[in-house]
């Protein structure tokens, strides 16, 4: 028996914390918060004449068993994390594609037959507008996730519906935006069509570059924001 040894509060607190951590459903920020609570509670109980050891056992008892806590934390911590990331990624890609359709069509319609026969200038315009559109989409996403975190969660909670909505809009949108392009194409001379091809090449490369650089940045930003809410 070792009951003559002095009670080491810090050692017992870290052992208790370890036990909770092993349950696997608490994040480190959750553990921090509970540990601060435990220590506050011990200070209060000590003021009421309990020994350190007694205070520790009463305080841990009041917090609840690790079995109970891990079960309750599992309800809020488990699925939304990865599901949330996935949905944010899908939403980002989707929004990006939607926004990109409009500048493309608009530039071709507005300037396609007016710019002095140079597909490069036209292509540059389209790329510039697309980058602007992408930055706008990022700003919009950021604003939504800041001002309405509830929306984000509702979106996360119904992944099937949101994916269905994305798919249907991404099918509808190109179909609609092809119509003016076809009209534009048939109404113009072969020279304009050549410019159009050069412009398309431009925007393809500018587009791909934007996708390669900015999409991962958006995803990292969003996932870090979600994780960031949980770290100390």
């Amino acid at each position: 028996m070792e009951n003559s040894t002095a009670f080491d509060l810090n050692q017992n607190v870290s052992k208790w914390r370890e036990g909770l951590a092993n349950a696997g459903t608490l994040r480190s920020a959750d553990l921090d918060e509970l540990e601060h609570h435990l220590r506050d509670s011990i200070v209060q109980l000590r003021a009421r004449d309990l020994s350190e050891e007694e205070a520790f056992f009463v305080a841990t008892g009041r917090l609840g068993s690790s079995h109970l806590l891990s079960r309750e934390f599992a309800k809020v911590n488990s699925s939304p994390l990865w599901q949330g990331r996935l949905c944010w990624m899908l939403l980002g890609i989707f929004l990006y594609q939607v926004v990109m359709q409009f500048p493309n069509t608009a530039v071709l319609l507005r300037f396609g037959d007016r710019l002095p026969g140079n597909g490069h200038v036209l292509g540059f315009f389209i790329v510039a507008m697309k980058w602007g559109g992408l930055l706008g989409a990022v700003a919009l996403l950021r604003a939504i996730s800041k001002s309405h975190p509830g929306w984000a969660l509702r979106f996360v909670k119904r992944p099937v519906l949101s994916v269905l909505a994305m798919v249907s809009v991404s099918v509808l949108l190109p179909t609609v935006s092809v119509v003016p392009l076809v009209l534009f194409g048939t109404a113009n001379s072969p020279a304009h069509l050549a410019h159009f091809q050069v412009a398309s090449l431009w925007q393809l490369w500018g587009f791909t570059l934007a996708q390669a650089i900015l999409l991962p940045l958006v995803i990292v930003y969003l996932t870090r924001r979600r994780l960031g809410a949980g770290t100390t």
Binding site: S41, D49, L63, G64, E72, V76, N77
Partner: protein
């Protein structure tokens, strides 16, 4: 050596005072509106929030303290409240929770619902002899 909880319970029992224990279901239903109501008074951290509710209820509402945190985190995900770590003193940091606009709306709707229940009971119980 004092054992506050046990001694308090036995002394209450010896005085013939019943300790009211809220049912699990009622605890579950009232936690969110209670948190919203306390936070409507100003930002607070978990431990102080629990103490406030215990004081106000005269000890009738005893939460399993750790269970409050998953509820707080859920409420945060729902956008009712937001949280922020703050340095309390030299080596103590606390996570403060504060009400958001959606939380105020939720509180208002909860108030209406609880008042409707309360008023119904009041009318029903007014005509009957007091139970105590």
């Amino acid at each position: 050596m004092q054992r506050p909880l046990n001694s308090a319970l036995t002394s209450l029992a010896s005085l013939g005072i019943n300790v009211l224990v809220l049912s699990k279901e009622l605890i579950a239903a009232s936690t969110v509106p209670l948190v919203l109501s306390v936070l409507a008074e100003g930002e607070d951290y978990g431990y102080a929030l629990i103490r406030r509710v215990r004081e106000l209820s005269g000890g009738n509402i005893e939460w399993t303290e750790g269970m409050l945190y998953p509820v707080l985190h859920w409420m945060e995900d729902e956008g009712m409240i937001e949280s922020e770590w703050q340095q309390a003193d030299s080596n103590r940091r606390r996570k403060y929770y504060r009400l958001r606009k959606e939380g105020r709306k939720a509180l208002q709707s909860q108030q209406e619902q609880w008042m409707a229940v309360h008023e119904t009971f009041s009318k029903l119980w007014k005509t009957q002899p007091r139970l105590t």
